[in-house]
Amino acid sequence: MSTIMGDATATTGLPEGQAPDTAQRSRRLAPATWPYGLLGLLVFAAVLEVVPRLGLVPERYLPPMSRIVAALAEEAASPALWTAVGETMKAWAIGLAIAVAAAVLVGVIIGSVPFLLAATSSTIEFLRPIPSVALIPLAVLMYGTGIESTLMLVIYASFWQVLIQVLYGVQDVDPVAMDTARSYRLGRFGRIRHVTWPTALPYIVTGVRLAAAVALVLAISGELIIGSPGLGHEISQAQSGGAVAVMYALVVVTGLIGVLINLVFRMVERRLLAWHTSVRGEAV
């Protein structure tokens, strides 16, 4: 899934606390949001418990939440689950790292040279929308069911996510800052290091966060469809073995990992960009 699940792209970036009253209102609400979130999760779990119990959906296809949780506990006790999680995270991490490194390198080079940007934009615009799943048959033929197949999908999908953000970021460089750097006789490398890179960084971080989510979904989908080892493979195993509760338990695990990754990256983003107060509009 190339650009799965974006979130708040395009932040209009309002300064904090516009008028006193909204600032007050949100401040008053802020510490109290988590009970609502908890309530939401509980209601969600309750619905999943009740719907199969009432027979609205046969238990054979959607077991009650309590049985999913029991299966989850059982799975969590077995090393097989953790091996699978490890495999998935390995594919995720390697794929993401390669994609980010390649995208940042390529993006900074292309973005800093107007000719390259003009010459490559049509090709980028052509390659970017090619859905990564189109590569599944190719990946299977070339790499079989090893981790490489999944990696290929992960890298392809997350690469564009980051590249586009890098290009946006590099183009967002303030001309005045660039002129200042020139007037102080900074060389090309110095300009990239001191002007381009800091400007692009917030965009890159956002791109990496979006790519991290995409990479996870693709890693699991890849394992699921291709059959390379990992959580996705475990899910399809559970499914083909008719172990429905286990399958749902594994789905819950994927969801939790996704939430965790998102949380961690948001935290990193906040930490890293605490100094960056400028209003930024992301790739719209």
Binding site: M5, G6, A19, S122, A213, I220, S221, L224, G258, V259
Partner: protein
């Protein structure tokens, strides 16, 4: 005139070079899985005839359009609702974060239960994946409505439907469009994935069939067609975006120029 020439040159130059490189390097390829480009192109014209287009590509596109449209309406409607009510948002956020982290393919069995195995299921798969980026971006957009504009509306007594139309939807539109764009590429992917289940027609289905029956040049031609489809859809989207967000891009340019 020279400018147009230069621009077309830049736009076509690299693709042309890549094409030639692919052609030359693959010519006489002995590798079964990397056939010569000439073979792939021959397979392309032979495979994607008008009949096949009507039988396999069109149904895919119709399902995509339906799923995408439903996801857009659903995502925007729910997004506006959730985004405008802070408590509802607080209650929904963790569940939404969780749901969107689930890879759509694992939901297919459940969706088959609810929507059967026909086109309805495939549309549902597309909706189930596309709705999240639209929904979450809309929530963010609605949240970020400029308080000064909100006050302006209040003081001029602009409320209800007029407020929704002139303030909320418009002000959140950059984020909505961002979500819609993500949903589009996602939709194409899910279109393919949905055709891996209980299908007997479709672009994705056909490509997988080619792969399974080891018809490699045909498979490549399918991948290329899928790429072209994605490209064409993104062009259409760009056109649409340029019209809807003309004000936004103008505003951004103006802000940048001024600073």
């Amino acid at each position: 005139m020279t400018d147009i020439l230069r621009r077309t040159g830049l736009a076509l130059g690299l693709p042309l070079v890549l094409f030639v490189v692919w052609w030359v390097t693959s010519a006489g390829s002995e590798n079964f899985f990397l056939p010569p480009l000439a073979d792939i192109l021959a397979a392309f014209t032979a495979t994607w005839t008008a009949d096949r287009f009507a039988a396999d590509v069109l149904p895919s596109l119709v399902r995509l359009a339906a799923g995408y449209a439903i996801a857009a309406v659903l995502g925007i409607a729910l997004g506006v609702l959730v985004g405008s009510l802070p408590r509802v948002r607080a209650a929904f956020e963790p569940v939404l974060e969780f749901l969107r982290a689930i890879p759509p393919p694992v939901l297919v069995p459940i969706l088959m239960l609810i929507a059967g195995i026909g086109d309805g299921m495939k549309v549902a798969v597309i909706v189930s994946g596309c709705v999240w980026p639209i929904l979450l971006n809309t929530v963010e957009g609605v949240r970020a409505v400029d308080p000064v504009l909100a006050d302006t509306c209040r003081s001029y007594g602009i409320g209800g439907a007029a407020r929704l139309r002139h303030l909320v939807l418009r002000s959140a539109s950059p984020q909505m469009v961002a979500g819609l764009r993500q949903a589009l590429s996602l939709g194409i992917i899910l279109m393919v994935i949905s055709e891996m289940f209980a299908a007997s027609t479709g672009l994705g289905f056909t490509i997988i069939q080619f792969q399974r029956s080891f018809a490699i040049p045909e498979m490549w031609s399918g991948i290329i067609l899928l790429g072209l489809t994605g490209f064409a859809l993104s062009l259409i989207f760009k056109f649409f975006e340029a019209r809807v967000l003309a004000w936004y891009h103008g505003l951004r340019r103006a802000e940048r120029g001024r600073s």
